[in-house]
Amino acid sequence: MEERQLRALIEDVRSGQLPRRGFIERMVGLGLTAPMASMMLMHSGVAQSQVITPVYKPNRRGGGGALKVLFWQGATLLQPHFANGTKDQEGSRIFYEPLAVWDNDGNLVPILAADIPSVANGGVLEGGKVVRWRLKKGVTWHDGKPFTADDVVFTWEYARDPATAAVTIAVYKDITVTKVDDYTVLVSFRKATPFWATAFVAAEGMIIPKHLFGPYAGAKSRDAPTNLKPVGTGPYKFVDFKPGDLVSGAINTSYHMANRPFFDTIEMKGGGDAPSAARAVLQTGEYDYAWNLQVEDEVLKRMEAGGKGKAHIVPGGDIEFIQLNITDPWTEVDGERGSVKSKHFAFSDIKVREAMSLLCDKKSMQEFIYGRTGIATSNFMNNPPRFRSPNTKWEFNVDKANALLDAAGWKKGADGIREKGGKKMKFVYQTSINGTRQKEQAIVKQAAQKAGIELELKSVTASVFFSSDVANPDTYGKFWADIQMYTTTMTAPDAQRFMDQYISAEASQKVNKWAGRNICRYINPEYDKLALAGESELDPVKRAAIYIKMNDIVVGEFIVIPLISRPRVRGANVKLVTTLSGWDLDFSALQNWYRDGAVG
């Protein structure tokens, strides 16, 4: 998709010919995120839609009883700037709030901000170099003290100090936040930043109170008592916390949004696994909401048949994909396996990689394994002439694969396995231990067999596979196999961090302890040039075009084979009305949750 075509689409949205949601869906189909698409529209002056769907019905605060949620990975800490993963961020989000959050359509919804900065209201200055946030007045912390700009400035100082060791440091260390008056702050970036909605927004943007954390900034940060007894501005006040097990909160009667929250207490229980969490919400109705139901759709459907709960599928940026190793993981070069200097005996030929991608039966995977919880995709598309839904640009064709391999010189031997130059096409295909993944492996192995490729299936326990342990040969970072498969998540709503994982500087090697994110060790100077251009491009439309082109390169060369786009699967009681977003935390709009049929 060229920049020209992108601008034409934006004009269609402006003139009303193309609904805003349609534009965002297409951008997501191209591999961008909804927040990025939304920022593109914002930059071109197309206003955000103001409707919050679904409509909030209750007309008084409280009276809703208890809200019981199951997070089968329990929260282990309640301080948002120390969070180990989304579970801790969600636990913190019950009590703390950021200035704004992303809704499912990629709109920014103000929480502690009075409004969203834009070029029109003078909030975005100097092309995105300075952003002026206006804060809501009359907001108080749970202990009664007022929320002011001092707290916002303090959160920035706290998070950017390396002695604090906050995990959100990357967002705050390169900016300067200044107080203009009690209810206005200016966020200044080093250079004009097209995607400025990072600081104080979403999961990494929760504001902490200066009067409680102030004496514990820097090296003393771990001693703050408030780390375990959060005091925030959120809809619920802290009651109790048992790490890994239970977080409980009670209604905040002086919450800053009228008629909210609906529930009197909230209880977030941890432990167990996904299927039993699904059972507790969908079958017995013991709990109202469960997070991350990694359960097969067939099982979910059976559970929903009881009529007590429903599975909510929320589209997000996560994608299950296969990586092909272009280096040789079986021989050591300079004492290192899978060195960038080596070449894979089969996958260094693009025709072989193309054949491999033709052997992945995504449709069967979607139909028989994922059901509603996955969509077969070519997230990274090959310049389609016009736009249609993303599922149609990939192909499953065993005969074509066979033809390609024959043409590339790989002849079938007596045992049916192809060989060339004395080397047989026997590949090790690894992934983590997970029922769904093993089934996917079986599907690919079957197709590959028909094409004369033998796949040895290997599965590694998840806590090892996804670790960064230098001593362990089975981590995904080392990629000491021929093929590997897992889900990569978009950890930020902006595509830059996601796409720059394929630049040569990020190649995963011994020298950087295999922490580089370019696990295929793909080296392409054109890609590197584009990545650099994308970083400094101010115009979000041009920037989007650059990232789309980068996507196309990686998929066009079949370095990665995208399989299934994985939306988030959540379970909720049929009466529970939630506002779930695929681009932010589940609890990003917790204040808007209510139970229908029991409204006062």
Partner: protein, 319 residues
């Protein structure tokens, strides 16, 4: 007797020290890094994990970390969890009541089943009762707890909807409704664990009683004209239970260790699930504290079992 106690205590101390050295070394050599999740997150720069490692002293040599840990432990400081950033003793104490209640109750249930059934089976060996009881016992300890747990959940929670299957440690209120709510949610985990343990103890009690019941003095008691009940209760059981008592004393430390699988299935926040979580997340201080306390308890209860055995059986003397 005094000598015996003193000697055992003196041996216990170096054993504990040795255990702690082995534990610490194994954990230090094991792969895994408590800050691994952070290292994988592209948004977190490596300086943050490096800083945290320095803060917690993870980069110092093993022996230095060991002595630091030892001195802290001797002063009563059980350490600071890397993952939860909480004092370890607070973490453990939060979970002790639930563990004692649920696992303790299951051990009591196991005893309550094993004793009567085992004694009665041995009193009438190879009768119908004995055959059925033995078969059930074999089935009981062959079926793994995750299987029986799931069966019970499917039956009582899903089909019949009688019992909740997610354990809540924070039920509000007091008095009778509070007790009733706790009992309702604890029945299934207690049943699962109790039946499993009870099955193996039944067989043990049965064979212990069988050993005694054939002896001559029992025949003498019967021929004296004593009622069968008196013979069994006063003469047989008291002697047969000596080995059983020591067995029970040796399994007491398990109450502290919790039951990992059952805790996972029913989401019981016990020490077993704390230990498993800490192991999977490489949270060394928690693992050290829990396993060290567990080994202390094992040594202590071994000692108690020896004392009990000597006290109950007059044929045993201490040297």
């Amino acid at each position: 007797m005094g000598h015996f106690i003193l000697r055992r205590l003196l041996i216990a101390l170096p054993s504990l020290l040795g255990i702690s050295v082995v534990l610490f070394t194994v954990l230090a050599l094991a792969p895994g890094d408590p800050f691994a999740e952070m290292a994988l997150n592209p948004n977190v720069p490596p300086e943050v994990s490096a800083n945290l490692r320095k803060q917690f002293g993870l980069d110092d040599p093993v022996w230095q970390r060991y002595f630091r840990w030892l001195f802290a432990m001797l002063q009563g400081d059980w350490g600071f969890s890397f993952i939860s950033r909480v004092d370890v003793d607070k973490l453990i104490l939060q979970r002790v009541p639930v563990t004692l209640a649920v696992i303790g109750a299951s051990q009591l249930l196991a005893l309550a089943i094993a004793l009567p059934v085992g004694i009665y089976s041995a009193a009438r060996p190879y009768s119908w009762f004995d055959r059925i009881a033995s078969t059930l016992a074999f089935v009981g300890f062959s079926l793994p707890t995750f299987f029986t747990g799931l069966l019970l959940i499917l039956l009582f929670s899903i089909k019949l909807d009688w019992l909740p299957f997610v354990f809540r440690s924070d039920i509000a209120g007091s008095g009778w409704p509070w007790w009733w709510a706790h009992i309702r949610q604890a029945i299934m985990p207690v049943l699962v664990l109790g039946l499993f343990q009870g099955a193996s103890w039944t067989r043990y009690v049965r064979s212990a009683v069988l050993d005694v019941i054939r002896l001559d003095y029992v025949t003498t008691a019967r021929s004296k004209g004593l009622a069968e009940r008196a013979v069994i209760m006063k003469h047989v059981v008291r002697n047969a239970l000596i080995p059983v008592v020591t067995l029970v004393a040796l399994t007491m430390p398990q109450v502290f260790g919790g039951a990992i699988v059952t805790e996972q299935i029913f989401r019981v926040p016990g020490i077993g699930s704390l230990l498993i979580d800490a192991i999977l997340r490489n949270d060394t201080p928690v693992i050290m504290a829990v396993t060290f306390v567990f080994s202390c308890l094992v040594i202590f209860f071994n000692f108690i079992a020896d004392l009990l055995y000597g006290w109950l059986d007059p044929r045993i003397t201490f040297r």
